[in-house]
Symmetry: D2
Subunit: 183 residues, 4 copies
């Protein structure tokens, strides 16, 4: 069984709900970055033992949250020895706006994985983009580098569109399958 860890920060619960959906279908463990940008005890050891690390962050002001970035900066200790080299990586981000620079966040998550000498797994599910498409269609948001989800600025985490959660589950299945294929 591949050891997959979803390490994420969530400010208001939306990204956490997406993280849960991804982890459930990937067969992954969740590892939450707290409100001060720190990992719980044992967090770095869990990441060291992972075959695949999945990064998750809201998109705030066009990039990852500062708490996620504090985690990324702290990972420089691992970077010096390239401790995560050749691990698999993937990513997801949630924000209130349809585009709203989510792709910039995704590019950053890839950049971080590249600094660590990693191997990045794509979304791997074509967007639904024809006239028959609805907000609940598979990958309606149209992510390629990773999973993009959206929930309105005044929506609670309970109101994330069903299609985005279905897409999150399909993404989890896809990355879990890639991780297992390399064992």
């Amino acid at each position: 069984m591949a050891n997959i860890v979803v390490v994420f920060h969530s400010g208001y619960g939306h990204t956490q709900r997406v993280a849960q959906a991804v982890a459930d279908s990937a067969g992954a463990q969740l590892l939450a970055i707290d409100a001060d940008g720190n990992l719980p005890e044992g967090g770095w050891e869990l990441l060291a033992s992972a075959d695949m690390i999945v990064f998750g962050s809201p998109t705030y002001m066009g990039g990852v949250s500062w708490q996620f970035k504090k985690f990324a900066d702290a990972s420089s200790k691992v970077w010096y020895t390239q401790g995560w080299k050749d691990k698999l990586f993937a990513g997801f981000t949630n924000s209130a706006t349809m585009n709203g620079d989510k792709v910039t966040t995704m590019t950053y998550l890839w950049t971080l994985a590249m600094q660590h000498g990693g191997i990045w797994v794509s979304m791997g599910i074509l967007p639904t983009n024809n006239k028959a498409a609805t907000r609940d269609s598979m990958n309606y948001m149209g992510g390629y580098g990773g999973l993009l989800t959206q929930s309105p600025s005044d929506a609670s985490s309970a109101e994330i569109p069903k299609g985005d959660l279905d897409t999150a589950r399909a993404f989890g299945e896809r990355i879990g399958a890639v991780a297992r294929s390399r064992e």
Copy 2:
């Protein structure tokens, strides 16, 4: 009166329709890159005389169309002498997918303007991203670096969502006002 030129490539007419909406409200001239990636006679002179250059391209395979890129590569002759230095620039892109790497295209349009020593004008219109938002809301697509529009893969150019065309007109007004404020 500020001299504004919208230089664009359109493969199937969608980007042309957006270009027209932007140009109409900005008080700009249209300059079409043809199917071989070339400008019409007098095109380079028109750009040389512009106060503001607005770049428009569809997003194909995660970036500008090759025809637009051929224009960009040909602009290296201007780059050598920094002939467009300190001009104002702005940009827009259209594709079939909600995100679909449109932001990567926008980042490229900015990069091209930066190579030319330019000054880049943002979208400047907040996205509509609450629960009351509809596909026809102002800047529903949520562009910041420039204008993002979307029309389904099986939609003709006549079927671009009304909200996106309204947003294109508002973007044209905004960049036209910035151009005139510098005279």
Copy 3:
């Protein structure tokens, strides 16, 4: 006299020295983000009164430092009312590696300015990239979107290459001139 503010974070003094060089030649005030990612008292008011805001950050792990990102996230209060709309923006970043994803940081600084409805000023100085170029040539690092500087991982802030500091001063002059031209 244009009111220019250089808001920056520096972890080990290198970015601070570059910030000082930029500010001196631009005629700008310095505003330091502290080690906890906070501004000093009066910092937000200073930014509100600026005609041009210049962002500066080291590149850590492929992006701005978490302290700079905490500042960016805190600027969401200004974003809601687009309080910085139509201000001029520019940026710079320093890191130990020649490339090392400095361009990703610069793209983020632009993205942040775009979220705020700003107008972004390019480097505007061609790189020196022929065989006669030395490490001390003007814009040897080859930034376009903004100023890129580099100092080796074991170099103190006193050892930033002279050419990079000269380039920083030329960049300060350029952005200062653009700011004054709009008054």
Copy 4:
């Protein structure tokens, strides 16, 4: 034996020389995009049969050459059926300037691989960035997402720095090893 194809465009021979170095050490076949942006006969079939596709392009005006982009746009036929899904991908770019937006090109090569549902392999070799570093040090250019090389604007392809060619060979070995580890 893993089937690796290096598909590249070279305008003046520099990128071709880097492509050769990468291919030699990776055990890969070379596939050149011609001056009109087309593949030779059998090119698409060769790519279809590959386990790993390596993209190579010069950086012109902040992005891939238009000829490379024409190839990318033509790959949309493969994209519709996701014919390259789950293949391994990697990339490299050469230009005359130290930074000069090479990272933007690399980000585009990754974006293209993501559109195709691929799996992206990083540079995987730490940069040399201390005071003892010379232009001939391993990964002096400091690429992470892929291989970055530089040769002065007035240098022939015979004058690419030795360190960059050594780095190209090390990159070829690294990606070849990753490709073989998945068989």
